[in-house]
Amino acid sequence: KVKVLSRSASEYTRKTTQDIYKIKRNYDPKLHPLERAREYTRALNAVKLERMFAKPFVGDLSGHSDGVYCMAKHPKKLTTVISGSGDGELRIWDLSDRETKWKVIGHKSIVKGVCCSLTKGNLYFSCGTDKTVKIWNPDQLGEEVSPLNTYVGKFAFSAIDHHRNDPIFATSGSQIDIWDENRSDPIKTFNWGADTINTVRFNQTETNILGSCGTDRTIILYDLRMNSPLTKSVLQMKTNAIAWNPMEAFNFTAANEDHNCYTFDMRKMDCALNVLKDHVSAVLDIDYSPTGEEIVTGAYDRTLRIYSAHQGHSRDIYHTKRMQRIFCVKYSMDSKYVLSGSDDGNIRLWKAKASEKLGPKDYRERAHMEYQEKLIDRYKYLPEIKRVSRHRNIPKAIKNAQSTKRIMLQSQRRKEENLRRHSKKGSIPYKAERKKPIVGIAK
C-alpha cells in the first residue's frame, strides 16, 4: 500500500477570475526558520521604501496677493478652509479642487483672525487691525458681497475664535471680549494685565473654557461661566499660539518664541507636560490633529514640523524652496492632511504621513502596509533602521542654524555646569527642562 500526497483541485483552483487564490499554509516553524533575521530584513526594506515614497506635498492654494496670516478650517466640512491675508482679503477654499470658492476684500488692513460658525448655518467671522469684526455668509446672493454684520471695537483685534456649540465668539485685543452673534456689544469682558493679547482659542471639548496668550509673555485661561479669568502663567518668552487637545480636555500646547512648544495641563501650570523641541526659530502657529495624537507646528524658520503629541522631537519636517515664514498651520479634520499658510501668499496642502498612499487600498494591500509599519515600529531601535527612518534632507540654512543652536546650548550648559562646580554644593540646583520656561504663576 502506498500513501500518496493527494489534493483535490477544487481546494486550490479558483472558480472565477474574481475569486482569490486560496493559499494553504503550513505553520510548522521548521519550515520558516530565521524569523528574526527575515523580519529584520523586511523592516529594513520597509523603512527604505517608506523613505522612498515620502512625498508629502500634495498641492498649493494660490490666490492671495499678500501673505496668509490666518486660516480656519470648517469643523464639519472637510474640504472647506477660510483664509485671510495681509491685504485684508478673505478667501474660502475648496480643498478637493484646490480652488477659491469665494473671496472678498473684507478688511482695510491685515486680517488677523478668521473662524467658522457651526450654529447658524454657514457663517464665517473675520477680524482685523481695522478694529472691526465682520460676519460673512458666502451663500448670500447678489453681486455685492457685503458682511451680514459688522462690529466695531475700540481697539485693533488680534484674534477671533468661535464657541463650539453656542452662538458665541471671542475676540482678543487689549482685552478678551465675548460676543453673542445676535448682539452688537460684547456680553462679557475679561481683563487681566494691561498688555495686548495675541491669540484666543476655545477649548473644543470642555467648550466653555478658553485660553489666550499675551505680549507680556503670559498664558491666561478663562471660563465663560466665571466672571473672572482663572489663572495666568508667565513664561520666559512670548507665546505665539496655543492649541487645545481635542481629545484631552485639560491639555493644551503653547507655541513659544523660544523655538519650543510646551504642553500644559491647565490644572498644573507650574510644570509643562511635554516640551516639543527641534525648531530653530520662533514657532508661530500650532494645531492638534483631531485624533489628539499629533501636533503640527509652523515656524519662522520656514519649516513645518509634525510631532507626536507625547514625544519630545518631531516626527517629520516639511519644507519647500519657495515657502516663506509660516504664519498659520492647520491639521485637516480627518487627520490625513496638513495645511500651511505662509508669507509668500500661498497655502500649501501636505499629507500628514509623508509616505501614505492616497486613494483606496484593497484589503491585502492595507494589511501589507500595516505589517510594514508594525515591523518598522518593532525594529526602530536598531541602528540601521533608526538611521534610515530619521534621515531627512534639510535646507542648509536650517542645518546651520541647528548646529549653531547646538553649540549655544552646549556652551550654556557648560557654563552652568562650571558655575555649579565652583559654587557651594546644592546652591545651584538642577532645574527640570519642563520647568525651565516657566517664570511664575500669578493668582
Partner: protein
Amino acid sequence: MGKKKLGNSKSKNSIKKSKTSFTTNYKNSGPKNSSKSKQPKNPNKISGKDIFEIDQEETKQERRRRNIDEIESYEYAGAEKIEKKDDEEIDSDEAFNDSDEERFEHFIFRGSNQKDIKKQLDKEIDLDETEEDDDDNEESELDEDDEEDQEDEREVARKSIARFVWLDESDNDESEMDEEFKALMDNDVQEIDDETKADKLASFIGSLDKKRKRTIDDEISSLEKPKKQLKERTEAYEESEYNLATRESSNIRKKIDLHDLIGSIQEETGFSGLKQKLASLESGGNKGTYKEPLSAPLPPRIQDRLNRQAAYEKVNKDITKWEPIVKQNREAEHLKFPMNAPLPHKQTNNVLASMFQPVTELEKEIDSMLVESGVKEKNLQQYEELQMSKLSVEEVEKRVKELRKMRELAFREEIKGRRIAKIKSKTYRKIRKKEKNKLDLKQLAELDPKLAREEQLRLERARAQERMTLKHKNTSKWAKQALKHGRHDLEGRQAIAEQLQRHEELKRKIHDLGSDEELDDFSSENSDEKDDDIDAIKEKAFDELAQLERKETENEEMEGLFGMKFMRIAMDKEKYRTRGMIDDFIEDLENEENSTKDEKTKKEVKKSTITHVGNNPGRMIFGGFEKSTSEHKFDIKKLSKSIFDLKSSSAEEPKDDDNKLTEPINNYSSEINFEEENPWLQTDSTKIVSSSKKNNKGIIKENNKSDKIVSKLKKQKQGDQSQNGIEIDVDKILTIGSVQNKSMNENDQRGKEIKEINSPTSRSDKASKFKSMEDYDTFDVETNFVHVKNPTAFSQRELVARAFANDNVIKEFEAEKQAIIEDDEPKEQDLTLPGWGSWSGKGVKKPKKKKLVLAKPLPGGIEASKRKDAKLQYVIINEKRIKKAKKYLSTNIPHPFETREQYERSLRTPLGTEWNTQEVFQKIVTPRIITKMGTVIDPLNVPFHTNDLDE
C-alpha cells in the same frame, strides 16, 4: 499658604472661644462679636500706585486706628466698672433706696459682665493682630513691602498716642462715660468697619477732654446726675455738636437700640411683664432682633484674586471629570475614529423580505403570478384562518395535538439523522449499505419471493458477468479500444470511468471489510518492520561483502601480465584499500546499532562549528587556530606510532611488559605536569584534597559538629561521584581484549590452512577478513596491540595518562591565550625614518636618546591587564567587537523597556503570516489609531452634562 491657613485656624479658634463665652455671659453681644472676629480677615495691604487704593488705605488706616482705640476703651471700661462696683458697695447703705437699686440693676449687670467681655476681647484682639500680621506676610508682594513698613511705623505711633490719651482720661466723670461708652460700644461691636465711626470716636474723645478736670470725689455726685439727665432726655445719646454729624451720616445704622427705648420703662414697676418679654426677645439673638451686618467689601484687587482662585479651583475640579476618559483613551490598545460613530444597522432576513418590492421585470412577473394564484403568504394565512374557523373546538384541539406530536417526532428523527450523518467510518457505511441491501432483499422476499429470487439471480449473474468479461480491467479488447478512441466522445469516457469505478469496487470487495482496520494498523506495523528491515538490510550487506570477498579470492590466481609480481603487489595494495573501506563500512554498521540518533545529530552539529583538538573529544577550539591543530595531528601520529611500537615490543617481551609500558608514559606525563592540572585525573586529586581536608579537620576543631557532618557527607559524595564519573571499566576492556586475543590466536593457527584452501571457512568470523593482511606491518601493530599479557596492571592513572598521552593541553592553551593577548594588545609603531632628523657623515655622534615617534595605539585593542580573562586561567574571552553584528544590536535599552530581557521579549514572537494564523496576524498588525478616509473626526463627545458647574 501654610501661614494663611494657620491664621485662619487661629481666627476660627477665636470665634469659637468668643462664641462660647458670649453665649454664657453676654448673649447680646454674641452676633456682634462674631462679626468682629471676621473683621481681621480684611487685608490691610495697600499699594500706593492706585489712587483708588490710596483712598482705601486711608479708610483702612482709620479703621485700624479705631480698632486700637477700641482695645483701649475696653480696658478703660473694665477698670471703671471695678471702681463702680466698689462705689456701689460703699454707697448702697447711704444713698440708694430700693427703687434706685432697681434702676441700677441694669448697669450693674452690664458692668459685672464687661470684665469678662474685656478679657475676651483682649484675647481676641491679640489673636486678631497676629492674624493681621499673618495676612500681611501672606499678601506681601514685592512692590508693597516698603509701604507696609511705613504703615507699621505709623501704626505704632498711633497706638502710643491713643494710649496716652486714654491714660489722661482715666479720671473722668463716670456717669457720662458710662452712657456714652455704652452706646459707642454697641456700635463699635456691631459695625466696626465704618468710616464715620472715626468721626464719632473723635467727638467722643473731645467730649471727654472737656471733663478732664473733674476729680474722683465728684464722681459719686456725678453718678447721680446722669440719672436725672436720663429721665429728661429725649435722645438716646447726648446731644452735642459732634454727635450731630454722626447722626446724619448714619442713615443705615441703627442708632437707637432696645436698651435706649426700654430705659425709661425700667424704673416703672408695672411693666415687668413687658420687660420680661423684651428680655427674652433680646436674649434670643437668633430670633432676628439683631441681624448680622455685612462685612465691608474687600479691595477689588484682592477680591478679584480671591475670585480667580475660587473660579480656578472650581473649574479644575470640574474638568477633572475628564480624567478617566483621557486615561482610558491613552491606554487603549486601539482607537477608532470617529469615536462615537453609530454602528451600521444589520437587517434581518425577515425585515428584508417584508420590505421587498419587485423591481425588475422578472420579479414583477413572478409577483403578479403569485398574486393571481393566491399563493402569497398573506393569502395562505388568511385561508388557514378561514379553515380553522370552520372546525369545532375539539377538532381544533385534536389537530393541534397531532401537529405537536408530529413535530416532536420529526424533531427526534432529525436529531438521530444528524447523529448518524456525522459518523465518518467507511466500514460503518459499508456495513450499513450492505445491511440496507439485505433488508431490501428480505423485504422483497417477504412481499414477493419470486421477484426477490429473480433479483438475487440477477445480481449474481451480473457479478459473474463482470468477472467473465473482465470489464473492470483495461486488459480487455473493448477497454483497449475505448482507451484508444473513446477518449474524445463523452460516452466513451463515461464508460471508461464506470469501468474503472467498478474495478475499484471489486478490488475493495476482495479486500473487503478489513481495509479500514488495516489502514489504522499500518502505521504501527510499519515501525516494527523498520527495525526488522534494518536488520535484514544489514544482513544483506554482510552477505554481499562476503560474496565480494569470495570473488576476490577466486580471482586471485591469475596468469600473464596480472600474474607478474609488480602487478600483483599493485593489486594487493588496491585490494587492501578496498578492504579498508569495507572494514570502515562494517564498523559503521556496527556502531550504528549502538549509537542513538540524537548523538549522531549532535556530532554533526558540532562538526560544523567546532574543531576537536587532536583526538580529544573533551577539548575543542571555537573558531580559528587550525594551524596548531594540524601540527598537533602530526604529533599525534608520531606519538601513536611510537606508542604502538612500544606495544609491539612489549608483545615480543611479555615479561617486561608492565614496567616498560608504564615508564615512558609516566615520563611523558611528568614532562607536561598534568598530574596537577588535568581534570581527568580528578579522582586522584580529590582524594588528595579529601585527605588533606581530613588532616585539616583535625586542626580545625572549632567547627560545629553539624558542619563537620555536612562536610563529611559532601566529601563522600564528591568522592563517589568523581570515582563513578571517571571510572573506566578496566574489566570490560580486558574481556574484549581477551576475546580478541583468543580469536586472534585461533586465527594464527588457522591462517595457514585457510591460505592453502583459498576459501573462507566461516563468514561470521570477522577475524578471517584480516588473514590476507597479515603481511602488512601496520596490521601487525594492530594485532599486536591486543597482545597485552597482564592487563590488570593498568592503573586508572595510567589509563588516563595513556588516553591523553599525546595531549599537551595546558601548554598549548597557554600559548594560545598568550597569542591572543598579544594580538589584541594595542600596538605601538616606530615611525622614525632612518636618516631623517639626524646628521650623517663622518664624525657624527649617535644621539644618546633616540627619538621615538610612536603611532597611537589602534583603537579597539585591549591591554593585557584590562582583559576580562586576565585573572581567569583556563578561559579565553574574546573581546573583539564583531563589526557585522553591530548593526543588529541596539546601543542601549530603548525607553519604555526597563531591562534587556523585556526588550528581547518584545522582539521574540514574529509578526508575519508565516508564523501566525491570519486571525492573529490581523490582530497584531492593526495600528493603534484607525481613521477613516474622508470623515470628520469630531472632538471628544461629552458623556456627561458639562454646562453648569456643579458642586
